[in-house]
Assembly symmetry: C2
Homo-oligomer: 509 residues x 2
Amino acid sequence: MSIEKVNELRDQMKDITNQIMSLINQRMKLAKNIGEIKNLLNLEIVDEKAEHELKSYILNCSKDLDLDPEFSGRIVNLLINEAVRIQKYQRNAAAQNPLNKPETNNEIYKSKLSQESAPSRSFQSNSVLQLDIKSHMDVFNAAKYLESQGHKIIHMEVGEPDFLPPTEVKKGLEHVYEEHKVHYTQSEGILPLRNALSEYISKISGYDENSKYISVNPSNVIVTPGGRFGIFAIFSSILRPGDEIVVIEPAWPACVDCANYMGAKTRFVRTDLQHKWEPDINEIESQVNNNTKIICLNYPNNPTGKILPKKTLESIAQLAIKKNVFLLSDEVYSNYKYKKFSSVVNFEYKKSILLNSFSKTFAMTGFRVGYLHSLDHDLIYKLKKFQALALTSVPEPMQFCALKALESNTEENCKVIKERIDLVCNSLRKLPFDFYIPDGAMYVFAKIQHNLKINDLKLVEALLKNGVAVAPGSGFGSKYSNFIRISTCVQESKIKSGMDKIANCINLL
Amino acid sequence: MSIEKVNELRDQMKDITNQIMSLINQRMKLAKNIGEIKNLLNLEIVDEKAEHELKSYILNCSKDLDLDPEFSGRIVNLLINEAVRIQKYQRNAAAQNPLNKPETNNEIYKSKLSQESAPSRSFQSNSVLQLDIKSHMDVFNAAKYLESQGHKIIHMEVGEPDFLPPTEVKKGLEHVYEEHKVHYTQSEGILPLRNALSEYISKISGYDENSKYISVNPSNVIVTPGGRFGIFAIFSSILRPGDEIVVIEPAWPACVDCANYMGAKTRFVRTDLQHKWEPDINEIESQVNNNTKIICLNYPNNPTGKILPKKTLESIAQLAIKKNVFLLSDEVYSNYKYKKFSSVVNFEYKKSILLNSFSKTFAMTGFRVGYLHSLDHDLIYKLKKFQALALTSVPEPMQFCALKALESNTEENCKVIKERIDLVCNSLRKLPFDFYIPDGAMYVFAKIQHNLKINDLKLVEALLKNGVAVAPGSGFGSKYSNFIRISTCVQESKIKSGMDKIANCINLL
């Protein structure tokens, strides 16, 4: 063993590296050729069947090479992502300038597309003048624009409670300065808040069949700057490019967007109104493979208001345990439950992760405080390190206010929203919509009856022009373009007026 | 052109994909063989010369393939990162269990190493009992531990001002609730704050030679949850794995840590006390290549207190313009300047990015509010989208307080710190340390004289046991293990006592 041997091996490495470059180049050219034909024949760019075939073939070959199937799967996913990216770029370019000659590899690579292909990209084409609407945020922006032009709009598109945070929070704000709560804190959050959260989690979700509280340890709790960053931090800590997650649709789009951003692949399990938004456990299982790292749940669900029966939740947890994948449960609507709700903490499964937030329960959206619970010490360690790397800590004044909020009673919030939901449901019954009566959360997800012959985007636009803003169903999954989501975050009189406007608009269609 | 042709091309793709997998497997095996020899010969894992040779070779070959040099460079960097990762894993495994048989590829890939090899990993081995210290945060944690055991420690290791935020902020906190500043905001920050920041940036940094203010447009300003997240967001928006940044050392480690996290490579330009911490422009130029995306500056500098002469800054800006790379200027210490300081906004270069924060100027570390300015609309667009994806927005109560803070006068803060710095310098002159008298910031970076025969970590440990905490130089760059950083964030009497403790400890060595 000597330095000469190192040099010899390095020469071999140079040669192999060059061969890899050459093959990647060939693969890119093939992807472009296929893309051109897909454009001519107007075929979908993403072809799940072809992807699956390629993956099976490579995994078979990898066995002969003694390669780890997870590693091989990730590399193949990366190469597929790259091909999809190139083909999407071609299609956009062709759409923008059909007479242009095809781009060279260089041009494709000089534009920074990996982020452009993220769903958030759709915002860019949003012109409020043309009301080019694709998501609830587009509706919100369009509504704001119309208001600036003197129109009156009833906001039933966004999920921000209209009531104020508890008065305990007001007192908290007034004491931040004199109590010197103005410093950097531990990246996982201040201990008094994590202590209080442990008790709170135990109280709200730790209730098991025998009426015992689950004991929650503050060392398993992390305070995050909002629920959304909780997802971002979890994905950053767990996922590598080429990994996969499973999402049950319809769904709040944050999980899919964050996975896309990180180069991870989302596999979807679609639920429907006909089956009362219940996911099929076999379908979930069929979407889990060697590269799956996380199954994402969100119950009470945004947008459907579904709460899973305990049995279904248990069978999903059993599947996660069997497959050794993380079970991320976004429970930010757990305060708004109109039937029994069981939290993921009850399973005491090491790889289950509870995500919750102060935003909806305490009407503290603007404070940006969320929290996570996990029994996996390695994950907790990574999350702390990630928060320290990305943003040091959650603002101490906000943590102090969150601590005060935990002293308040939030039952009234739940009661108010439930009454509003009943109001919306009663109005909807007289209109050509079908819907599931929500078990929880703050929304009604209503299916546009077929005889109306209008999709969600057209209907949302028509409603907006009639003074009421609602969210298009397709913002929660591509298969839900015959749904609208009606939010109950305005007071009763406005809801009544909003529902009247919907009725009027439907009559005019 | 038909679907049959697509299938035919897909078969070719399968074959090529399989060849790529096989070659990557061979490359991994070679990397492991080289790693084993490096371990036996105790050679450094990272060999910049060998990396450079490989890259030059591949770039030459790429010309024949008509491949984009930037694309090729990125792929090669990725393959190199992978090899380094494997070799580091081998070395750790060998150190932990020297009798173990070498790991298989599978085992290496099953452990999630990409994050473990980040510098923050060093925290994990930190045991406060053994005072295993590697960075100023380790010192802080060790000091906290000693305090919990009844020891008294003077904290001269961290950069958190000891004074309170301006009283305007106290009033702001008291009005958050009644003014309903408790909501989601635009991801780029509320307009009143961006308006006020535009004026403020213009006032503090837009002063050009002819006494004119640079006009700053609020659409070029983004509010971030702290300066650290500003860096994280910029890197997330600009860097892809395999890209490169240039950092001038010694440096606050956030840039290097964030780049590592994102799979980007940092090239270092080292400055030294002998040359008054002035970087050599030719050395900077030599570190810029096809894959370089950002040159990172931090003046007034943490830890040295250096402010660059205007001419040097101009030549760096000229270089950035010539090479078409971003120039990121972290100016969080700009309120603490004891000679003329020129901001990067004066260059009106599209790719320059100003980073600043409320933390140091207004003693608002715990509020986590920072801000960015850039003339590049594409970057601003990406930053907005990234913040919307990762965390929705900065807490509105904190933005409201930041707005109030801008009404305050911060000259006194600067005066207080300058007096403390003089105090530290006067004490240090009587001790076996060499140092540059700071032009700005809140620290003195002192070189341990050779005859003391002690490195930074040993000295920091000895000082801590004597009741004074300072930061080791090696936390700001591997070449600065003969320096300590003394922070001035405690009141004068404590600084005097801390410097006495340092003197006593040195006498005992």
